[in-house]
Structure formats: structure tokens, C-alpha cells
Symmetry: C2
Subunit: 281 residues, 2 copies
């Protein structure tokens, strides 16, 4: 794995380039992105040069797709012809950093040759997006899920996993459908609750609501700052799991509402205390 | 206002004592609390000596009730006789730091003479409780709601407000019922959502849930660590407002669920973005 191309040089793509450099990767790191992102990424040292998608497929050993989910899906379609032609000469490993996995993995197996695509999801993020806030340490101590299909094997896979390990990421292999089921509860549900909470408060149009609050409301509304553009493609590609998570939550909330009416709220608090403690172990 | 007694020397009561001292209050600060809290508070300098409730009423100009809501209610009952007797000689101002206000204000007007009680709610807190984590800067830049009854007047009120101003608190006068309506949305609703989220994830009994998550779940589950004992009396004294807030939220969440099914989630995100930006202005 001597050369890398990053498609979509934002927070994740930029951090991937910076982490490679910090860990001693010396080969070229091409960037395929908008002009503004490319300029900022060159300045930060996250990439070494600008490239088109076709040039990237020609010359890179690893193609790292770090776009929003809908863009990854259309990139996979664009890659069909150039990757097929490239594979007649040398292997290329294509991986992604999309927030949902099943649809992407299915799309990849439809448009790319077998044993060329490895789905990935670094569970690292920030309140702000863009290469300007990228950092080499982004993946450190964070889960990095890989979703190899059954029997997947690629000559560059061990090297790629090894780089992730040097970043300090906790690399976990998981079935793509299982990944999507879990993140529906641990990532997509919290996002929608934060959005619903902030939208509820906004709808009340009461200026006191943004004045009289403790730090709890700041925590609970941080995710509500997320961009609808990013999330609409996450939701579109994980709809059934998200609906299940929303329904499980609504059942719990209805029980809590009943407990509030009956003055017997403590069992939910005790279960919630247990989970929160486990999370922080 | 030459002497102060703090009843319930935990995070809030202890921070009140430390803030007074830091701002130059030189008089005695009595503490009425459990032995462990008293010892820790003496060591930190948050109080100058231990006292019984009766001694505190005898000698303090300001009685600061910093207990959980249910304890404040029973302290108000205990105060009826000693405060009536004390008022025959010198004025005493009684104030509290309880999280709900209407029930406390009503209880105070039932058990205490007119113009002796001023309801209060410092909207400052921490993940951990207890005098060990008290700090002089706790009230700085935080809202501090006071709920004077119509026509309230007390010789020590200007001095008390002045101390709160020197702490850097944003002092806001509000009707007690209005306070409770607002905090149902900005504090009690976020608490119950965090609890419901963590309880939902705990109920699933899936070890992957505490392993595969980003920082968003940590934010969203921080409040879920709160103690059921503290919250049951908050809920019991603000039930109707909390039920209204839960219902407004459930309506919003149902709309979001429908939008997830229809793939048109963005209007909620845009409203949520607006509120979150306002909050951080």
C-alpha cells in the first residue's frame, strides 16, 4: 500500500490523511474534492496533490471514500468502469467512511468486482465539519468498524488495518446489517432525539427557553446542530432500523410518562443510571 | 445581612458559602447538614460552624435552603414556629435553591409569615453532587431565578440580590408558575429524554451498544446519571408542566417518525438548527 487517494477531503478524509502522515506514511496522498477543500487540505498537509477520480483510480493502491452516504453511493457507480480496467493491471482496495453500511456494501457488490471493496465506519466526529477541523488524532481510542463480506480477502487489507491500528483506533469487524442495527440505536436515535428536542423548543417561540437553562440543555442540543443534508442520506439508507429504534424509545417514553403521572419514576432512572455507568467504564 | 445559615450543605449550598467568602463576606456562615457534609464544608471553608436549624433561625439574617425539593417542603413546615418567634425580635430572610418553585412558594406562604420568604433557583449544576465538588464560581454567568410574590419587600433583599450579582449570576425575577413552565421544557424534559434514551439502550441488553458509539451518545446520556431520589420530588412538584412538555415533544417526535418514513426529515432539522444556534449566541 504505497499510495492513497482520498475522495471527499472533509473532517474524516482530512483526518485520515493527517493520521497517515503522522504515523510515517511517505507515499503520495491524492485528494479528490472541491477546490476550497483541496486548497485547505494541501495547506494542512492532509494531501500531497489534487487529482480527478479517474487519475486516482489509475495510481492509488487505496481509495478512501469519505463523502456523505448519498455521494458515496454515486461515486461507487462512477467507479465501476475505471476500477474494472485498473484491476486488469494491479489490485486496488476501495474503502469508505460512510455512516451506514448495508446499502453501501450492497451497492459496491453491484458495481465493483468481488474482493475490491471493504466497508468502513470510523465512529469519530466533531460538532463542526470540514477539513479545517481535521486532526491526526481523530481516530484515537474511537471504534472503527469494518464490514468485510464473507470470505473477503485483499492483498492490501492487512496493511490498511495496520495503519488504522497505528492511529489508535479500536478496529472491530462486523456484519454490515448488524452495524446498521446498532448505530440506529447508538447514533441515529440520539441524533433524532436531539433534533426533536430542539425543534420542540423552537416551536414554542418562547425567548425564555434559550435564556433559562442549565448545561444539560446544551449537551442535549449539541447534536441538533447537525446538517439536514448529511442526515437525510443516513436516514434514507437505514430507515427500518431507525424506525425500530424510534419505536423502542417511544415505548420507553410512554412508560416514563405514565410513571410521571403515577409518581413512580425511579425504575427508569435506575436502568438509565446502569447504562450510563456502563458507557463510562 | 451580617450572618448566613445554609441548610443542606451540598453542591449548591457549599458553592453559595464559598462564593460569599470569595466575594468578601466576613460574617458567620452556619451549616445545617449531615455530619459528613459539615466536616467537608468546614475543611473547604464553605461554612464557619455547625448549627441546628433552631440555632440557625435564632442567629442568621439569611437562611439559605439548599436541599432537594421534598426536604425544602418539610423544612418550611419545621420553620413555622421558630421563624414566627424570631420575627418578633428581628427580621430574617428565608430563601431556597429548589428546582421547582410554585409548590415551594405556596408552602412557604402557608407556613411562614408574609414577606419572609423569597423563592430562588440557581440554574447551575454539575454531573456530580456533594459539597466536595462545590466551587465559588458555580453561579458565574448562570441564570439565577428569583420568584418574589406580588408586593414582596424585605430589608435584606437588596443585599441578598447584590451578593448574587457579585457572584456573576444573571439574576432574573419571574413568577413561580412561569418558572416551572419554562424549566419543564428546558430542564425537566431534557432530563427525562436522556433517562428514556439510556433506559431504552439498557433494556436492549446488547453489549455492542456501549461499545459502538460516538461522542454524541455520551452527551445525550450524561443527564441519565442523575439520581432518581432527587428527581422524584422535582417531578412530583411540577407534574402538569412536565406532562405538557412530554406531550409537545411526543408530537414533534411523531412528526419526525413520519418524516423518516417519507424521507423528508429536513424541516425538523432546520428548526432544530435554529434553536441550537440561538442557544449558543
Amino acid at each position: 500500500m504505497e499510495s492513497v487517494a482520498i475522495v471527499g477531503v472533509g473532517l474524516i478524509g482530512g483526518s485520515f490523511g493527517l493520521a497517515l502522515r503522522r504515523q510515517g506514511f511517505a507515499g503520495p496522498i491524492l485528494g479528490v474534492s472541491s477546490s476550497g477543500a483541496i486548497e485547505a487540505a494541501l495547506e494542512l498537509g492532509a494531501i500531497s496533490s489534487r487529482s480527478t477520480l479517474e487519475e486516482a483510480v489509475e495510481s492509488a493502491d487505496l481509495l478512501y471514500l469519505a463523502q456523505p452516504v448519498d455521494r458515496i453511493l454515486s461515486t461507487l457507480e462512477q467507479l465501476a468502469a475505471p476500477v474494472a480496467s485498473r484491476l486488469r493491471r494491479r489490485p486496488i482496495l476501495i474503502t469508505d467512511a460512510g455512516s451506514t453500511k448495508l446499502r453501501i456494501v450492497q451497492h459496491a457488490s453491484r458495481f465493483l468486482p468481488p474482493n475490491s471493496f471493504l466497508g468502513g465506519h470510523p465512529m469519530a466526529g466533531k460538532e463542526r465539519s470540514g477539513v479545517e477541523v481535521a486532526e491526526a488524532a481523530l481516530f484515537q481510542n474511537r471504534p472503527y468498524v469494518l464490514t468485510p463480506e464473507r470470505g473477503f480477502s485483499h492483498p492490501f487489507e492487512p496493511a490498511f488495518r495496520n495503519w488504522l491500528n497505528t492511529f489508535g483506533a479500536r478496529v472491530i469487524s462486523l456484519d454490515a446489517a448488524e452495524h446498521d442495527r446498532v448505530v440506529a440505536f447508538t447514533s441515529h436515535l440520539p441524533q433524532l432525539l436531539s433534533t426533536a428536542l430542539a425543534a420542540t423548543l423552537e416551536s414554542a417561540s418562547d425567548p425564555l427557553f434559550s435564556e433559562l437553562h442549565g448545561s444539560g440543555l446544551l449537551d442535549m442540543s449539541r447534536l441538533a446542530r447537525s446538517s439536514p443534508a448529511l442526515w437525510s442520506s443516513i436516514i434514507a439508507t437505514n430507515r427500518d432500523c431507525i424506525l425500530s429504534a424510534l419505536d423502542a424509545f417511544s415505548t420507553e417514553l410512554a412508560a416514563i410518562r405514565e410513571a410521571v403521572e403515577r409518581d413512580s419514576i425511579s425504575t427508569s432512572f435506575v436502568r438509565a443510571n446502569t447504562f450510563s455507568a456502563t458507557l463510562r467504564k
